[in-house]
């Protein structure tokens, strides 16, 4: 199975174009092509397959966002980029867990990707805050917020879903929820 995937490894520019076009097939091929490499990296360096999954998905997200933002330049091989990001992320994770032995066993070349990983980390912190704030917000506010702002549902749909008798009530409720969400978000450290 592994070899079949390698045989049909997509080219780097195919992947970049695919991400820009939201192609599910390309995302899947990207994911399956380089996962074995990262699994090997993590397993050989005090990690398990769950760590490998976490780290690899983070790296794919970093790549994805970078491509989407238009900042990604194909100056190096995609493989090297993914390896470098995973390596950096794993080093960070290892030192957080105090498992870092001061030596990572590399089998690929790598680039300095500290900036990317830092940016990703900052954003992650924001997202974690948002997640916590939404949890604290509770229902029905959470769903209203998600439906309206994330899933782009209309107020009409939301009205029907929650059984509000008129759109004004729903609107008032929505803004109340948003106020509270902002407060919960900014109160966190």
């Amino acid at each position: 199975m592994n070899k079949d995937i390698k045989a049909s490894a997509p080219t780097d520019s195919e992947i970049v174009l695919g991400i820009l076009n939201n192609s599910e097939i390309v995302l899947k091929r990207l994911y399956t092509t380089y996962f074995p490499m990262i699994l090997q990296l993590i397993i050989n360096n005090n990690g398990n397959e769950d760590d490998a999954k976490d780290i690899y998905q983070e790296a794919i997200i970093v790549l994805y966002n970078k491509v989407k933002s238009g900042e990604f330049e194909l100056s190096s091989k995609l493989k090297t980029y993914i390896y470098s990001v995973c390596r950096r992320l794993w080093l960070k994770r290892l030192s957080q867990m105090n498992r870092y032995g001061g030596d990572i066993r590399d089998f690929e070349e790598y680039l300095p990707v500290d900036d990317e990983v830092e940016t990703h980390n900052d954003r992650d912190i924001q997202f974690n805050k948002m997640e916590a704030a939404l949890q604290l917000l509770g229902e029905p506010c959470k769903t209203i917020m998600e439906d309206f702002y994330i899933h782009n549902r209309s107020m009409q749909e939301i009205c029907e879903r929650f059984g509000y008798t008129n759109a004004d009530n729903a609107k008032t409720q929505k803004y109340k929820c948003l106020q509270r969400l902002k407060k919960l978000f900014f109160q966190q450290k």
């Binding site: 996962f35 794919i60 997202f127 702002y149 106020q179 978000f185």
Partner: protein, 386 residues
């Protein structure tokens, strides 16, 4: 955390009145960003932003915050997609596959390479020390066997008297040429000149009480050592037996230069007491462990070949067979003829009762191998040592 949440909700309810106007502001901001305002409303709102810094910061904050919610939503969505892809991968078998490659030896090396290195260095050091103190590192090598048939030394001593009286008796009573006493050390020798000078290995005649040389037809002559060169493992004998007659001109000459690799060479000697022809080739210009005294030859030699002549195709004498290496089949060694010549030069002149004139004429050159051997036969002797 839940306690905190309730508190916030509670305080939110108290401020409901102020929130109402805040809600209106939020609505305006959203309508502003969504482009739902009329041109007039828009200019009014922009004026309000300029006048009221509080309103302006709310606008900026709202934009960022909504952006963050949307990005958060996208992230969650992407994570779901990745999870779905991940679930299709057979991680377990992939892991197995990866784990086969770095097998336990590799892993052991990876985890303990420093310890293994230290252990290995200690082991090597210990081995070298042991070798050094047991003398295994010196040149006395157990694999080098000199080609003499050695019978037990003790028996030599016990038989000595017997043999001496025997020979004396035979010489005195019968004057017989045929003394068929097998020697305890037996090697091969060959004539240097027609008047009874013979070369053999030093190790063949070392510690000898008396020496007899026996020719191809079985006649034995008494001989004595007139000169030895233990460093070259060479000895020069002289036949001093009254029954010895001149041999006639020696058919081979003595090569001064070093012979070339691959040259066809052969020897003729008495391993085990019978005359044996041994063909072969010159395989190295240096001998055991690179010593320049010897040639290495590939000739089937045996104990008893020691001291035999090594000749090339043209009948030049190029060396003296000396020893063999037990670990390499067919590898034997021969002292180069140059050292034989040196040895002959070194013989003090008062040791020579007759002149030792080396043959310079080679009468073997044009002959076939069988004819060469026929001629050669008369100049090669079995050396018996008592």
């Amino acid at each position: 955390m839940p306690a905190k949440a309730e508190e916030i909700i509670f305080s939110a309810e108290i401020k409901e009145s102020t929130e109402m106007s805040e809600n209106q502001l939020l609505e305006s901001i959203e309508r502003y960003f969504n482009g739902e305002m009329t041109a007039e409303e828009r200019t009014q709102f922009e004026l309000l932003r300029k006048k009221d810094a509080n309103v302006d910061s709310k606008v900026v904050e709202h934009k960022l915050f909504i952006g963050l919610i949307k990005q958060y939503g996208e992230r969650i969505e992407l994570e779901k997609r990745l999870d779905a892809i991940h679930n299709e991968i057979d991680v377990h078998s992939l892991k197995e596959e990866l784990l086969i490659k770095p097998n336990w030896i590799v892993n052991m090396w990876r985890h303990h390479h420093s310890k293994i290195s230290v252990a290995a260095s200690i082991a090597i050091f210990a081995a070298l020390t042991t070798l050094f103190f047991t003398g295994k590192l010196s040149n006395h090598d157990s694999t080098f066997v000199e080609l003499v048939q050695k019978v037990d030394r003790l028996s030599t001593q016990t038989h000595q008297l017997d043999l001496k009286t025997n020979t004396l008796a035979k010489q005195g009573v019968t004057k017989s040429n045929k003394i068929e006493n097998p020697g305890n050390f037996r090697g091969t020798g060959f004539a240097l000149s027609s008047n009874g000078y013979i070369a053999t290995n030093y190790h063949v005649v070392k510690d000898a009480d008396s020496i007899y040389v026996q020719n191809a037809v079985g006649e034995s002559f008494h001989a004595k050592v007139i000169y030895t060169e233990p460093g070259y493992d060479l000895a020069i004998l002289q036949i001093n037996d009254p029954t010895f007659k001149d041999l006639g001109n020696v058919p081979y000459n003595f090569k001064r230069s070093v012979s070339d690799l691959g040259e066809n060479v052969y020897t003729f000697g008495f391993p085990g007491g019978e005359e044996v022809f041994g063909p072969g080739a010159l395989t190295a210009e240096t001998g055991y462990r690179g010593d320049t005294l010897n040639y290495q030859v590939s000739i089937p030699v045996d104990h008893g070949n020691s001291g035999g002549p090594l000749l090339d195709d043209k009948g030049n004498l190029i060396g003296v067979i000396r020893g063999l290496q037990t670990q390499v089949a067919g590898a034997a060694f021969a002292v180069k003829s140059a050292y034989l010549l040196k040895t002959i030069q070194n013989i003090p002149s008062d040791s020579l009762t007759k002149s030792l004139t080396l043959s310079t004429k080679n009468t073997l050159a044009g002959l076939s191998r069988t004819q060469q051997l026929k001629k050669l036969k008369n100049y090669v002797f079995m050396v018996k040592v008592y």
